[in-house]
């Protein structure tokens, strides 16, 4: 299908473009930017006047809930929600049921996803069998099946020797290891940040050192093994400082922050709002501010949605018993834009955090509008505000702490491989 997108504001962080221009698509690829190629007869013309045209968003953590958790959400519903959020490539964590530790499971997931013809799905392979933190998975086989990186999702890897060996093995093949820095025994039964709010609410807590101690372990083992590590969901000021120091030493480390932690703090828990029951927990205001600055200054490379749809009943429980997580795949763009507006950052820098940077972290050829690249695009109205209400959320999970808020950024079209997979 030949598509001509005209008069849009093209913003491509990778190629440093921010200009109004036309873009031409054919055979699933970006054919031309600027003037129409000879004999180009568009099947579809999209008028992108006053809209932004950017590379399709890359989301580093989207739980699709299949296999195993279909009562929470399905592949169809979550993939539909992802493209409605402008996301064209996504990584899904291995904590499915069963976990993604077998090539067969990975192939099936990739196959199911491919048939939906929506976004590109990159399953994160389990680092250890069953995510149990004891035996290594067949990372090379899993890689052949389609896993490009390996991780433990939220399941702690308590045995440091196993962590070291897993890193060494991954490094052998040049695979990245993705880890969430949260030390299990210091987490204990904690559900909230060890601060004033948890003290008032009487909630068991997770101290900052649960993150910093885990980070120190990971950083030192990274140095030991030479693996590339991606740190998932930073949440503390102290943690950012450790990452900064490690990078200054030249270690191969990247890290991300979830949209929730970019905007919210422990204060938002209010009267036990279970939509704020997240891992890592929402921390203090100074942590939140450090995350916002860390993303700007580059110590934090990218933002992700950390999408975790949950069925309604699982949130209608006392805070500590409620299911952890927030839906967010449709809020990745709006919340990133909001951060950018509040911090007064140019749009091209803002969009890099959800296009070029995550693509680089994931190691995929995406997140740019180069000639000849796959036509994965997102077209949105940066000026249009919309209200986050249950009926506006396409994901099966309506569990978001941003319910009721007005956010900027309305996706108008999403294209994957040159096909319009979402239209407002």
């Amino acid at each position: 299908m030949k598509i001509h997108i005209k008069n849009g504001r093209l913003v491509d962080p990778t190629n440093g473009i921010d200009a109004v221009n036309d873009i031409f698509i054919a055979a699933g690829k970006i054919l031309a930017i600027g003037d129409a190629p000879d004999n180009f007869h568009a099947n579809r013309v999209i008028d992108a006047e006053s809209l932004v045209v950017c590379p399709g968003l890359v989301d580093l953590s989207v739980r699709l809930r299949e296999p195993g958790h279909e009562y929470m959400a399905t592949l169809e519903s979550e993939m539909g929600a992802a493209v409605a959020g402008g996301i064209t490539s996504l990584a899904c964590p291995p904590d499915t049921d069963p976990p993604l530790d077998e090539p067969g499971l990975v192939e099936m997931l990739k196959h199911r996803a491919k048939n939906l013809n929506l976004a590109h799905v990159y399953p994160i392979g389990a680092l250890t069998q069953g995510l149990r933190g004891e035996r290594l998975t067949e990372m090379a086989e899993l890689s052949d099946a389609g896993c490009i990186v390996f991780g433990q999702s939220d399941v702690p890897l308590t045995n440091l020797r196993t962590m070291m060996q897993a890193m060494r093995y991954a490094a052998t093949f040049g695979f990245s290891v993705w880890l969430r820095p949260q030390e299990a025994s210091l987490t204990n039964d904690g559900v909230a940040h060890d601060g004033e709010i948890a003290t008032r609410l009487g909630l068991p807590t997770i101290p900052v050192c649960a993150e910093t101690i885990a980070l120190s372990n990971i950083i030192l083992l990274t140095r030991e093994t030479g693996v590339h590590v991606h740190l998932c969901r930073l949440s503390t000021l102290d943690g950012i400082e450790l990452v900064r120091a490690a990078r200054q030493q030249g270690l191969s480390i990247t890290c991300d922050v979830a949209i929730n932690h970019l905007h919210l703090s422990e204060m938002d828990i209010g009267f036990f709002d279970s939509n704020c029951h997240l891992m890592p927990p929402l921390r203090g205001m100074s942590d939140r501010d450090a995350l916002r600055n860390g993303l700007l200054e580059g110590t934090i490379d990218a933002v992700c949605s950390d999408h975790a749809p949950v069925d309604e009943d699982a949130k209608l429980l006392p805070f500590g018993q409620s299911e952890i997580g927030a839906t967010g795949v449709e809020l990745l763009l709006p919340l990133t834009l909001k951060w950018g507006i509040e911090m007064r950052i140019p749009l091209i820098t803002v969009l890099a955090k959800i296009t070029a940077a995550p693509a680089r972290i994931l190691g995929i050829d995406a997140g740019h509008l180069s000639l000849g690249a796959a036509a994965d695009l997102c077209i949105f109205d940066a000026e249009q505000y919309w209200r986050v209400v249950t009926s506006a959320i396409k994901s099966q999970g309506k569990n978001t702490p941003f319910l009721g808020m007005e956010l900027p950024g309305k996706i108008k079209y999403t294209l994957v491989n040159g096909q319009i997979v979402y239209e407002d």
Binding site: D194, E196, L203, G270, F271, L316, P318
Partner: protein, 317 residues
Amino acid sequence: MISTNPQLNRSGELQHLLTTEGLPATILLEILDTAESFVGVTERDVKKIPLLRGKSVFNLFFEPSTRTRTTFEIAAKRLSADVHNLNIAASSQIKGETLLDTVNNLSAMYADMFVVRHLQSGAAHLIASHVQPDIHVINAGDGSHAHPTQALLDMFTIRRYKQDFQNLRVAIIGDILHSRVARSEIHALTTLGVPEVRVIAPKTLLPAKVERLGVHVYHDMAKGLKDVDVLMMLRLQNERMQSANLPSSEEYFKYYGLTQEKLSLAQHDAIVMHPGPLNRGVEIDSAVADGKQSVILPQVTFGIAVRMAVMSILAGN
């Protein structure tokens, strides 16, 4: 996101009693003043008044407790209400019925008031935010968060013996970290204008940034008790030894238990309080618990009057 005070209705009247935090002094004092009238009822022939006749009070105790449940039951019956006890610890929770399903089923049976005790902080707030407008919820203790009726009966007791809140030094001694009673007491004391509220505990039994609640922190009991007018002891639970908060109850008693000797460091007419049940020889010496400065038994009597006051005020709003 934070909205208006879930305990108050649009006119600023008490709709639910969930926590002493965020309640203005006028409401706390209204409860204490109303309770004065109920103390006398127990001295009459007919110990009942007809105020809540025809109303149904459901005791929803997800965390078992005979003492507290019984005092609420007595209070409700003295108000002529019909009382139904549900110990849900076992039955429906195992069958998988959710907390809110249970509440909805009971509401359909014309419940007017729920008295709720639960292991999880925030349970009472959850229930209160999901009941019909004319149903009232009283928090009888949720996790480590709040136990407002205990704090109110403690305030009533203090007022009976010390009259004026504005001139007191009050010390709360024990496991503040895990105590819903301590949190509720701290909020009530500061709201009522007590100028100095102290907490005395080892570092392992204090929550983060506790001083932000408006308390002075002491680890040394001798220093902490100096010139104190009211001592509020907290119960120490055995689990604390298991979870590496304390080495032993013996060492705890030596440094944080209340003995006659330590009591003498406080004001000579200081009163000793305890929410019960007592762990004699752990947080308090028998001689002190049974001694002339102890007001532990009056606390129990006042507890019924205060709970009657809370139910009456809520039922009328």
